[in-house]
């Protein structure tokens, strides 16, 4: 009965995110404003059901629901929405929902593809205080990088309008270059320490669970690659001023690596890293 409840909540949330995405995309092609608001309301409504789904699974499983691909992807998109709402209400960026909601929806949709059973019995390794801290840090970090990637796409589009001197299309609706660049930077400065802390807690936890800090597991390797990329992004920005277009491209590259580390490593490479 309870399993059905969480699946129902998930399906409703997924549908609402889909509608929000469609509305957001329509906003791109419309001359009138207003669809953006509808997209945000739909996303917020979906978020409520989504939170319900996560809560039900938490109660049922007795732990944060991130122990399989279905739960992990769902939690990923849930974290992204938290950041999305924060930025939407803080900065009121034009077309933000049109560029972020599709990413949220795709991640949520990928979650729908995976088996949805709840792991009621965790391996002893996961029954640790570090587990909760590690996953929340890691997922929020990934969500920040995903947002930065979306914002990077917006920046590149707007930059192309300004450089090409054809100020039609989305030029009027997209935020200014400076704002997009600043938010991109803020998101990376948020994601980077989160990822760093997630890796530190992961290493400590690994030691307490398996007695070794680092095992060169693909998941660990790809986390390290992700960390190095964003370290490079920040380094280049602060020393030689790689901002604007270059920073936007790097944040998109970083986002692709994050997605690969998230899905690819588990699906293609063999990892012992139980989800998370």
């Amino acid at each position: 009965m309870q399993i059905e409840t969480n699946i129902l909540l998930f399906e409703i949330a997924l549908t609402l995110y889909f509608l929000s995405t469609i509305t957001g995309v329509i906003e791109i092609f419309r001359s009138k404003k207003g669809a953006s608001k509808a997209a945000i309301y739909l996303a917020a409504l979906g978020f409520i059901f989504h939170t319900g789904n996560i809560f039900v699974r938490y109660v049922q499983g007795g732990h944060i629901p991130v122990t399989n691909m279905h739960e992990a992807a769902s939690f990923f998109s849930w974290c992204m929405l938290i950041l999305f709402f924060f930025h939407e209400f803080r900065y009121r960026l034009g077309l933000l929902s049109s560029f972020i909601m599709p990413i949220v929806f795709l991640i949520m949709f990928s979650s729908a593809i995976f088996p949805r059973e709840i792991n009621e019995f965790l391996s002893p390794a996961l029954q640790s205080y570090w587990f909760g801290v590690h996953v929340i840090l890691a997922f929020l970090g990934d969500a920040a990088f995903a947002m930065a990637g979306g914002i990077g796409v917006m920046y590149l589009l707007q930059e192309r309008y300004v450089k090409s001197k054809h100020l039609g299309g989305l030029f009027q609706k997209l935020p200014s270059l400076q704002v997009l660049d600043e938010i991109n930077y803020h998101l990376i400065t948020l994601g980077f320490p989160l990822l760093t802390l997630a890796m530190i807690t992961g290493v400590i936890w690994a030691n307490s669970a398996w007695g070794t800090y680092w095992r060169w597991d693909p998941k660990e390797v790809w986390s390290l690659i992700t960390w190095l990329i964003y370290a490079l992004v920040l380094h280049l920005r602060l020393t030689v001023g790689w901002r604007g277009k270059k920073a936007a491209i790097l944040s998109i590259v970083g986002f692709i690596v994050v997605i690969f580390a998230f899905f690819g490593v588990t699906l293609i490479l063999k990892t012992k890293h139980v989800f998370p």
């Binding site: 300004v162 450089k163 001197k165 100020l167 200014s176 400076q178 001023g241 901002r243």
Partner: protein, 427 residues
């Protein structure tokens, strides 16, 4: 009551004519007072701007009252009426309503969709309100006009996108820097367009202003006006290390800034974005500079293209706005039409009530003293007969049928009514 527009505007009247008939803030109240006292027109709003002098009025008699208003225009300004002959525009009925809606929406403006006209019309109406120069019809019309103007502006893009070069430059700067306040700006050289753009930038919050010119005297003069500092022209490269926006309008015959030079400067300023607007002809800034990251270079033609594209877009949006105006004109006319029938309906009711009272009194007198509830019963009988009899004709008058005019006329004759509307109408 008929709505009319009598006036002069940029479409037909030259500025020489318009200025002769302009109402300044001193003349305007007098004019309104005069119109009211002389009973030329019952309601008046006078819109006097640099592009138009238009009188919006409601009059009883179309033919004679329009003439009277034209007379008034020439008398009031002491200009012979012949001066108006070829320049005057006169609209009545639906055309007048449409014209007022179009004016407020910026559809009749020199710069399509410009927003100032709405404010000017609101001010003009405010003055009329202050002098009690409007009543039901114009009040309703003005209210509707403002809502139409709001609709056309929010639902279409007629007001979007800068259509002149200096505004386009500001708009662009805002899409690069978001907030211009606190941004630093350098004006290199002088010239009308450069100064105008500088003024707009400063009006939008640009604070740190530097001016440089080959002739220092002119630079000092501008620095005084803009509240900026002057640097020798040879030092402008140093300034490029930290400024955000530059307008270049020197008379140099060749490029004064090359790609390689700015490339080095950009490295040194750690790629802080820079917007350069090169107004000079021949151009002073190497156009290839636009290829550098975080540098945005626009020359006059670029900005002119932007402004033209915006103007074209506004033109397309104007079609949508015209459709909104047309729908609103129809809805206003519907309301106005329902107004025409009202005096007739009121007259029918009054007449019926009068007859009822008369006959009731007669009957009660004949019957002598009666109990209270019996008097009530007779009163009820009389009024219900009356209401049932006049209900169908008044309902028919309220409906919006094509033959309503005829119906009103017929009602007036059938019930032998003498309404205001009936008197005013010419046969």
């Amino acid at each position: 009551m008929n709505i009319i527009v009598v006036g002069l505007n940029h479409n037909k009247a030259s500025v020489e004519v318009r200025e002769k008939f302009a109402f300044d803030s001193e003349k305007l109240p007098n004019a309104l007072k005069h119109l009211k006292e002389s009973k030329i027109s019952t309601e008046n709003v006078i819109l006097s701007t640099c592009n138009r002098v238009e009188m919006y009025a409601s009059v009883k008699n179309l033919d004679t009252d329009v003439e009277k208003i034209i007379h008034f225009l020439s008398d009031f300004h002491n200009v012979p009426q012949q001066a108006l002959d070829d320049s005057l525009v006169i609209y009545q009925g639906p055309e007048a309503v449409r014209h007022i809606f179009r004016v407020a929406s910026g559809l009749d403006s020199v710069v399509l969709g410009e927003p100032q006209i709405l404010g000017q019309l609101k001010d003009a109406y405010g003055i009329s309100l202050q002098h009690k120069s409007t009543s039901t019809l114009l009040n309703r019309l003005m209210k509707k006009t403002f809502s139409v103007a709001k609709r056309t502006r929010t639902e279409t893009g007629i007001g979007k996108g800068a259509v002149n070069i200096s505004f386009a430059a500001v708009e662009l700067a805002k899409k690069i820097f978001e907030d211009l306040s606190g941004k630093s700006f350098m004006l290199m050289g002088a010239g009308e367009m450069a100064e105008l753009a500088a003024r707009h930038l400063i009006g939008n919050g640009v604070e740190d202003v530097t001016i440089t010119n080959r002739t220092l005297a002119r630079a000092e003069e501008l620095a005084q006006e803009f509240g900026g500092k002057v640097i020798p022209f040879e030092n402008f490269m140093e300034e490029l290390l930290h400024l955000d926006i530059a307008i270049c309008s020197t008379g140099a015959p060749n490029y004064i800034l090359r790609k390689e030079q700015l490339h080095t400067i950009m490295k040194e300023r750690k790629q802080k974005p820079m917007f350069i607007f090169d107004i000079s002809v021949p151009r002073n800034i190497d156009p290839e500079i636009n290829d550098l990251d975080n540098v945005y270079l626009y020359d006059v033609d670029d900005l002119k293209d932007v402004a033209d594209a915006n103007a074209e877009e506004r033109g397309r949006e104007a079609d949508k706005a015209e459709k909104i105006v047309e729908a609103e004109v129809q809805s206003f006319l519907k309301w106005q039409n329902s107004l025409v029938a009202t005096p007739t309906i009121v007259a029918i009711r009054e007449k019926a009530e009068e007859i009822r009272k008369e006959e009731l009194d007669k009957t009660l007198r004949k019957l002598g003293p009666l109990e209270e509830d019996k008097i009530k019963a007779i009163e009820y009988l009389s009024s219900s007969i009356m209401n049932k009899l006049i209900h169908p004709p008044t309902a028919a008058l309220k409906s919006v049928e094509e033959d309503r005019e005829i119906m009103i006329d017929m009602a007036n004759r059938l019930f032998k009514l003498e309404t205001e509307e009936n008197n005013g109408k010419k046969k």
